[in-house]
Symmetry: C2
Subunit: 353 residues, 2 copies
């Protein structure tokens, strides 16, 4: 009976982790826990003596603050999430590289989720990130489910759309206007005299950038009374291999086009390479344009004519935008980045019939 009398104080014993905690630091430094916290988070508010004592104790114990406890107490996690289609696409990988770098500099850490162009996955990952208490979210494009937007609104979570920028969008965005870029690109091609135009588009399902690119080209063509013949507008994703297949498909429909507009550089590179192995000389027999300006584009022979999207810069701007917002600084609703036409060697005048 009496045996548990002296155990009474530790009735509930949870497996307190053996790791060092803030209280240990406080004890070693001979100060209170509050002072330790303040010494680290608001150094200017404590005396130099206290600060150095705390830092010494921190170093001595090799203490790493526990973000869970911190997040719980401060209601902020210093974590930012990014939902991108896939890291397998170097454009997004490059952008994330810049984002990650900027975030770290600002004291944030990056959570990455890939939607694989599936709105359900995007929603799941968003939920998963909100659970982890992200302070903000970066989303590629705005093709997401109603539920996702509702969730963001409910949590009042700061976010920014990146890569694609749609004028008039209600969402804060940093990116290029894909529609206008493809209008310009198409007009450039038409100005060279081309009238028989084919296009290798990207799948437009759940991909507003792809859709904007396609629409930009089609509208620009329509404005000049041109339409792409059946079978010469094909949809692929973004690999070189798919570009090759697409080009073969297009060239099997007669009469062949004099130019192929590709929704991105990987498709364009594939189109150029496949043309060459088919004995079609670029640009004499066929012109090709891409979009993005990936590294290999400049090294092809002839080098690819394309539009440059500064992905790294885009990543920086996106991160900066979100960081500013998290700091409560005023930010522009939309930051537009221009895609620059890079004229190289894959576009020439159409061959005389």
């Amino acid at each position: 009976m009496g045996e548990n009398t002296d155990l009474r104080t530790k009735r509930r014993t949870r497996q307190g982790s053996k790791s060092v905690k803030l209280a240990d630091v406080a004890r070693l430094a001979g100060v209170s826990t509050g002072s330790v916290s303040r010494a680290l988070n608001e150094p200017h508010k404590v005396s130099a003596k206290l600060r150095s004592a705390v830092l010494k104790a921190v170093a001595e114990l090799d203490w790493v603050p526990h973000a869970g406890g911190r997040a719980l107490a401060s209601l902020r996690s210093r974590t930012v999430g990014a939902i991108i289609p896939t890291l397998a696409n170097p454009n997004f990988a490059n952008e994330m590289n810049a984002v990650q770098r900027r975030l770290i500099e600002a004291g944030y850490i990056l959570l990455i989720g890939c939607s694989e162009y599936d709105p359900d996955k995007a929603l799941m990952q968003t939920r998963s990130m909100i659970e982890r208490g992200v302070d903000g979210l970066i989303l590629v494009g705005e093709n997401y489910s109603e539920g996702l937007w509702r969730l963001l609104a409910k949590q009042a979570l700061p976010y920014v759309i990146t890569y694609g920028l749609r004028p008039g969008s209600p969402h804060p965005s940093v990116g290029v206007d894909n529609y206008q870029a493809f209008v310009r690109l198409t007009n450039f091609v038409l100005d060279q005299g081309h009238r028989r135009v084919a296009m290798i588009a990207q799948r437009t399902e759940n991909n507003d950038r792809a859709e904007a690119r396609l629409r930009g080209t089609l509208d620009a063509l329509t404005a000049r009374g041109i339409r792409i013949p059946d079978g010469q507008l094909v949809e692929k994703e973004w690999s070189v291999a798919e570009g090759r297949v697409a080009l073969r498909e297009i060239m099997s429909v007669l009469p062949p086009p004099t130019v192929v507009i590709c929704a991105n550089d990987f498709l364009a590179v594939g189109a150029v390479l496949e043309s060459q192995s088919l004995g079609i000389e670029v640009p004499r027999d066929l012109s090709v344009v891409g979009f993005d300006d990936v590294e290999i584009a400049a090294h092809l022979s002839p080098p690819l004519t394309t539009m440059r999207v500064p992905m790294y810069r885009l990543g920086e701007l996106t991160a900066d935008h979100l960081i500013a917002k998290l700091r409560g600084a005023p930010v522009a609703h939309a930051v537009e980045v221009d895609a620059e036409l890079i004229v190289r060697g894959t576009v020439g005048p159409p061959r005389a019939p």
Copy 2:
């Protein structure tokens, strides 16, 4: 005086976030908080009635559990970190793509940090991840500071080294044996009859994979009594542009080599393209081999002879390894993945002198 009597119960009022919390769910469902937690985390331990009541309330309130609270209480975060050199290198991006996918399936979320081959940055990011309470860590290679290993040991943090695998390493690893792969690759080249060998290596500083590749080639050469002439062993990183520069540098040293071994495919692609623009015919005048088998390699003409490293698969294996470890399942200390020689068109016999 008496005015604060009735305020006494709420002496300390913290800004309780307005967001929905577990207690709200419990109230709506008419059950205790413990039951809500159990219904979600150990569904088999509660009655069907309770479970459905809880799920209904969760859905109705659109409640998202707060991972900070959860991490604090359970001492696990369901978060895994990965430290890689850079996302700008598609090899790592592809691997992370696979890792991310596998982790999500297992209920974990991925934190990414880029070291940019800087051990200090790697340490910072590791610390940052430990703060966020990662349950496990993935590291590329094992070139890290003493402090990083100490930190991991102190936290008893499960981790796995990926990409490079060094036989005899004390660290659990999943990857390819770069040294042996380059021994094989080099022997393959020598077996074609080449004796004048050049190499475009990667910077070996803080990069054990690069170092193993270089050493593998040098050892294989030495074993056959061959050495690379001064000026024909150059160090670059991994871009096509650098490969081009490197090739020019090498060819300016006479006599020119009959084969260039490249530490990775991007350098090799650059070497092939530069050769062609210099009027050097591959493989008649010069053979080139790469390593990795990136997508573009197969599409070059001639297509690149290289060794395939299955990055996506490697990512899957790495994630699986760590997940198994986190679950307490027994795991092999090392999982070796073979690099497969892919003979294509850039290697031929040396031209008769």
